[in-house]
Structure formats: C-alpha cells, structure tokens
C-alpha cells in the first residue's frame, strides 16, 4: 500500500484556516501545497479613501495574535509619510508595548501550539495533567504579555491607545514598577524553559539550506524593528526597496500571497532574528543563546520554537531595562503631523517575522497601501521544508504518522491564518 496523496486539513494549532496537500507519484513527491483558505479580506482596498487614524483602527484586525505589530508597522509607515518625528521616549514606550506582544505570542505558540507535539498531546490543557507546573507558569507568562498589551494598547486585542505621534494614555509609575517586578519573576521560568528545550530531541528529516531575513535595528542592540532589511547572505537593503528584494506572487491554492528572495524561499521570524542578530544578545538571553544555538539551526525550522524561547528571555530582560529608563524619563506629548501628504514604508518584526506596511497619503487621505505579512513571506519556505521531509521519510519508508511530522514543520513557523475544521484525510491506493 503506497500513499499517493497526503492531505492535512485543517492544520490545527495555528492561527487560521489552512491545510497541507502532498502529491506522490511512483514514490516521488510531485507537488506540495500549503493551502491557505482563509477567505480574502482585501485590507489593501479597505483603507483607500480613509484617514490615517482610520487606517490605524483597521489594520490590527488583519491578525489578532500580532495586532499591535500591525498597528506599530502602520504607525512607522504613516509617521514617515506625514513627517512625524516622535521623541525617543515615545519610541521606548512602543518597544515596551511590543515586548508585551512578543511575550504573549511566543508563549502562546511555544507552550500551547508547539510543545504538545513534542510530548504527544492534542493540546496544552491535556498536557496539564502531567506537566501542570509548566502549563500554569506558561499561562502566567502569557497573561503577563497580555497585561503589557492591555496597558499599552488600551485593550488586550485591538486596543486604540497607540495613536499617530504617541499614546492616548501612558501607564502610571506604579504600573511600570509592577511590570518590572513581574518581568523579573517570570525570568526564572523563561530560563527553565531553555533547559527543558535543551533536553528535547529535534527531528532531522526536514533539514535543508535556506536563507534568513530580518530587520536590522537602528542601534547596536538586539531589537524588533528597523529600516533596513538584513539577509543572511550579509546583504542589506533599505526598507523602502522591499518590493525589489521580496518578490511577491499569487497562487490559486492560497489567499495569502507568496514571496521569494533571490528567486528562492526564505525564513523570517524568531529563528531568522536569532541567527542574524544573535551576537548582539547579552545577559541571560546570551546564556540561553549559548545553550541552544548550533549549526543545525541553519537547516531546521523546528528550532524556531527554541528561538522564541530565547526571545522570551530577551524581552523579559528588556522590559526591566525599559522600565528603569522610563521611570526617569519625561512624559512625551502626542506629536501632530506637520504635513498631510507623503509616502512611507514602516517595518517591525512581528512575533512570526518581518512585517511591512506601506502607504501613500494625499491631503490626509490614503490613496495607496500595501502590506506584506510574515506568513506570506515564509509559505514557500514551509512548502520546501515539507517537500524535503516527505522525500526523506519516503526514502526511509517511514510513512507512519507522517501527517504529524509534516504538521510540525508548518507549526514551527507559527503561521498566522485563521482556523476551520475538517478532518485529516489520507488517500491510500
């Protein structure tokens, strides 16, 4: 009995409605498709004719898990377009906000969406029976991320508080001190996680070479934003040139667009950041990096889960640093736009990778908009790693449980789609 088709639908424990289809003929893989069947929402057209304020309310709705990254990328783009220069302290508050999202999203993905696979469970709640402490601590860490998001965003999801030029309301001194204390508290668990991961066996059936892209922070430290695209071949590109660097195309099995760099698939996300910028890590994050990173990371996206764990440590430590800085800083005012027209490209690192928003504003109204999401960037890469996995497993005749193995590859990227429910189907011939 040989399989001719592997169909995994729905792809569970990812955000969104997707599936995987692998076609096999004469024991050779003919086609691999990661299907994104989330219906189209056409955000690029929804914002046309709108004011920048409306754009900022609408774009977080592209994705709930990284809603603040969308708001942040739009803020960076729109502020460039309208020549708004926010004071350094406003930027620091935004970094704090973004750490909240990193912690919320990474902890959700790592403990609740990815780890159950490693321990053989359907979900994290089932895992709680045996790994109660890990699950409880993970919930507490996620709650902490959400607390920062609520404080800085105004709500946990889709908050209106970050506005053009600043914030509606800034956190009190007491709230900031509370964040610092809690961040220090969660650091122990974040480091314990590094040890848990160090003991896990990472499968090698998927390994192949790829390329990594992330934003280069404008300062010498590790960070989640920048105006330069940094690729693992050492090349750097101004963000405004993103269309020449990241080439997009549409495919019929997906309402998400596809992208390539140098005509080849590439990876974005925590693993790309850690590999491209890891030498900038300090403190406990550096310790975590030294414990986990090895040469196999360059060929194996499952390590993205590990990279997220390293970033959890980095974000917690950076929250402490930021709070200390903010406690002595002046309260910034909201900066008003000096002009009503212009073009701007904004980039941030969303938890799952580089996110680019681009606008042209004319007389206070949006006339053009473009968004490239991390999932659109790495879908080709997922397909390539799934193909490689299929080839290896086929050659070794290890077809039992292949669905889970392929799903794990896709899940490692932490893709952002929206779910649906069908059963996994496998065709035998």
């Amino acid at each position: 009995m040989t399989k001719t088709k592997i169909e995994i639908e729905p792809l569970a424990r990812v955000e969104g409605h997707g599936g995987i289809k692998v076609e096999i003929k004469d024991n050779v893989i003919k086609d691999v498709q990661v299907k994104i069947l989330e219906g189209p929402r056409l955000f690029e057209t929804l914002v046309i004719g709108k004011t920048p304020e409306e754009d900022l309310s609408l774009v977080p709705r592209i994705c709930a898990i990284c809603n603040l990254s969308h708001k942040y990328a739009s803020l960076r783009a729109l502020e460039k377009a309208l020549d708004i220069k926010v004071p350094a302290v406003t930027q620091t508050y935004r970094q704090l906000m973004h750490h909240g999202e990193m912690l919320e999203s990474h902890s959700l993905h790592l403990y609740f969406l990815a780890l159950p696979d490693f321990f053989g469970y359907d979900n994290a709640v089932a895992m709680a029976e045996k790994f109660g402490e890990v699950v409880q601590n993970a919930l507490a860490l996620k709650k902490f991320g959400n607390k920062i998001m609520r404080l800085m965003g105004g709500r946990m999801i889709h908050g209106e508080n970050p506005v053009l030029g600043g914030f509606g309301k800034l956190p009190s001194r007491e709230s900031l001190l509370e964040l610092k204390e809690e961040a220090l508290h969660h650091l122990d668990f974040a480091m314990a996680t590094i040890d848990i991961l160090a003991g896990l066996e990472v499968p090698d059936y998927l390994e192949r070479d790829t390329q990594f892209i992330c934003l280069k922070p404008p300062h010498g430290e590790y960070d989640y934003y920048g105006d330069i695209l940094l690729a693992s071949d050492g090349k750097e590109y101004p963000l405004e040139d993103y269309k020449k660097v990241i080439i997009e195309r549409t495919v019929s099995h997906s309402f998400a667009k596809r992208s390539a760099y140098n005509d080849r698939p590439f990876t974005v996300g925590a693993i790309a950041r850690v590999l491209n910028l890891g030498d900038r890590l300090k403190g406990k994050a550096k310790e975590a990096y030294d414990k986990l990173v090895n040469e196999r990371w360059y060929r194996n996206p499952i390590y993205n889960n590990f990279a997220q764990a390293i970033e959890q440590v980095f974000s917690l430590e950076d929250v402490v640093r930021i709070v200390d800085e903010l406690l002595t800083a002046e309260i910034p005012k909201i900066v008003k736009p000096p002009r009503g027209s212009g073009t701007g490209t904004g980039g941030v690192e969303a938890p799952r990778g580089t996110l680019i928003h681009h606008y042209t504003i004319e007389n206070g109204v949006t006339v053009d908009a473009d968004y490239i999401t991390p999932t659109a960037m790495f879908l080709d890469d997922i397909e390539a790693f799934i193909r490689k996995s299929g080839e290896t497993l086929l050659a070794k005749n290890e077809m039992d449980g292949i669905e889970l193995k392929l799903e794990m590859v896709a899940r490692a990227y932490d893709p952002c789609i929206s779910c649906s429910a069908h059963l996994v189907t496998v065709d035998f011939e």
Binding site: A12, E15, L37, L58, R61, N67, A126, K143
Partner: protein
C-alpha cells in the same frame, strides 16, 4: 480530542473560525484564569486553533467566529448549523460581517478582488464577507471586535446551566458614564459611542480616544441626530457615514438607508 469525552453530563462544544483575524477565539484562549475550567466544564470537541484531532459530530453549542467569505465557508457553516442545538455568533465579523464588509452591497467587491489578486481563480470561490445570519439562524450574538471576557464568560456559564444568555441592550455611552469619563462630544470631538452597542466597558473613551464603533450598531440609536451633531463639528456627512460603516458591516445598512 478531550480525554473524558464520554462524560455525557457536559455540554458538547465546537469552536469554529471562518474569515476574520481569530481574535474572538484568541480572547477565549487568553482567559488564562478560566481556560482550564472552561475545558473541564465543557466537552470541547472541536477547537482547531487550540487542539488537534477534533471530533465533528452533533453538539450542544457551536461558537462561530468570522464572516462567510468563500463558498466553502458557507457550506461549512450550514453543516455546523445542522449539527448544533445552539449556535452563537462571536465577534463583529460573525455578527455583522466585520471590517471586510464595510463596503457591503456597493458593488465594488469584484474590482477590489482584482486589484489585490489580479485575475487569479481560486479553488474555492470568494465572496464579500457576510454575517452568519445571512445563511443560518443564529441563536445568540456576542458582539465586539473582539468579544470581551465580561460578556463571553457569563454567556458560557448560562449555557452551561441551561439558561438563556442575557442581552446587553445599552450603548457604549452608558458604560462611559459608569466610568465617569468626560464625554468627548462636549469638546466637539468625534465619537461613535451613542451609535455603538456597549460591552467593552467604554475602553476607548476611557483612554481619551473616540469610540470607532467596533461593537457594531446599537439598534436604539438615533443615527440621524448623531450624524447632524458630528456635521456641526465640521465633518462632512460622507465622512461621518464612511466612519460609521467601518465596523458596521451589513447590519448598518438598515440604519443609514434614509440618512
């Protein structure tokens, strides 16, 4: 998928997402203090965003997020309705159509599809986002973009005990008063609070920012007078209506048709 799915005393629940941002499902996952209890009290048969190996058969309650935006999703929704005793629409996309339906029925959908995707044909036909009740009977509505835990948890508790969830027929302004905020309209600032269903706790006005209407239209609102008021602040009627439509989806059409 749940370990004790044989427990007949627990209501069987399915949580589904059509087209949206997954924010309403995420809100449930983000109830860190309650999530383990939710999984214990209910027999959660299908919740693909959080768990593998869903069991798809008859259920007591289906919570459905997202708008219907492809033919495949329409079929899926009809099939969920057949299998569920109670169907709850969760979130703005499911209750009114979501931001993707802000141009509802203005005839631009085809052109906008073409603008983003070119002439591509997809394996399932796309359609302009529609709320669930355009295709099936919806028993209860949880509005919001996303829903709030303050409204979602009481609804779940009531369903757990076989009681009917209570509607919340108050505008955002009602909650804004409870927060003792100064009304933005007194300063001649734009706000959609009076036109919007309450339930969020008036968070945006509490941050000194306007309500942009994300809970969807409040059926009791006086749309006519509010549009006039905002016009008196110097906005054009077109601009006001455009902003009302951002989160008003299909349902807004009945309220603004005579304006």
């Amino acid at each position: 998928m749940s370990s004790d799915s044989s427990d007949k005393s627990k209501p069987r629940v399915g949580i589904y997402g059509l087209t949206g941002c997954a924010g309403d499902q995420l809100l449930l996952i983000h109830c860190e203090d309650e999530i383990l209890d939710i999984f214990n009290a209910f027999d959660i048969r299908s919740f693909v965003m959080a768990s593998s190996n869903p069991i798809e058969d008859d259920m007591d309650v289906a919570l459905v997020e997202g708008s219907v935006s492809t033919e495949e999703q329409k079929e899926h929704l009809l099939e969920i309705r057949k299998r569920s005793k109670i169907l709850v629409a969760i979130g703005n996309c499911a209750t009114v159509g979501g931001v993707q339906a802000m141009y509802a029925q203005d005839g631009t959908f085809k052109d906008r599809m073409k603008k983003v995707y070119g002439d591509m044909k997809f394996i399932t036909a796309p359609m302009e986002g529609q709320p669930l009740d355009a295709f099936v009977t919806v028993d209860y509505y949880l509005p919001g973009c996303p829903i709030s835990a303050k409204q979602a948890l009481p609804l779940l508790s009531r369903l757990l005990h076989g009681a009917s969830p209570e509607p919340f027929p108050h505008p955002v302004c009602h909650e804004c008063k409870l927060q003792e905020n100064k009304c933005l309209l007194l300063d001649k600032k734009f706000c959609l609070g009076p036109l919007t269903q309450g339930g969020c706790g008036a968070v945006c006005p509490s941050h000194g920012l306007p309500c942009v209407g994300c809970w969807g239209p409040n059926p009791d609102a006086n749309f006519n007078e509010h549009v006039k008021l905002l016009e008196s602040f110097g906005m054009t009627k077109d601009e006001v209506i455009r902003r009302i439509r951002n989160f008003g989806g299909h349902k807004i059409l009945q309220y603004i048709k005579d304006l």
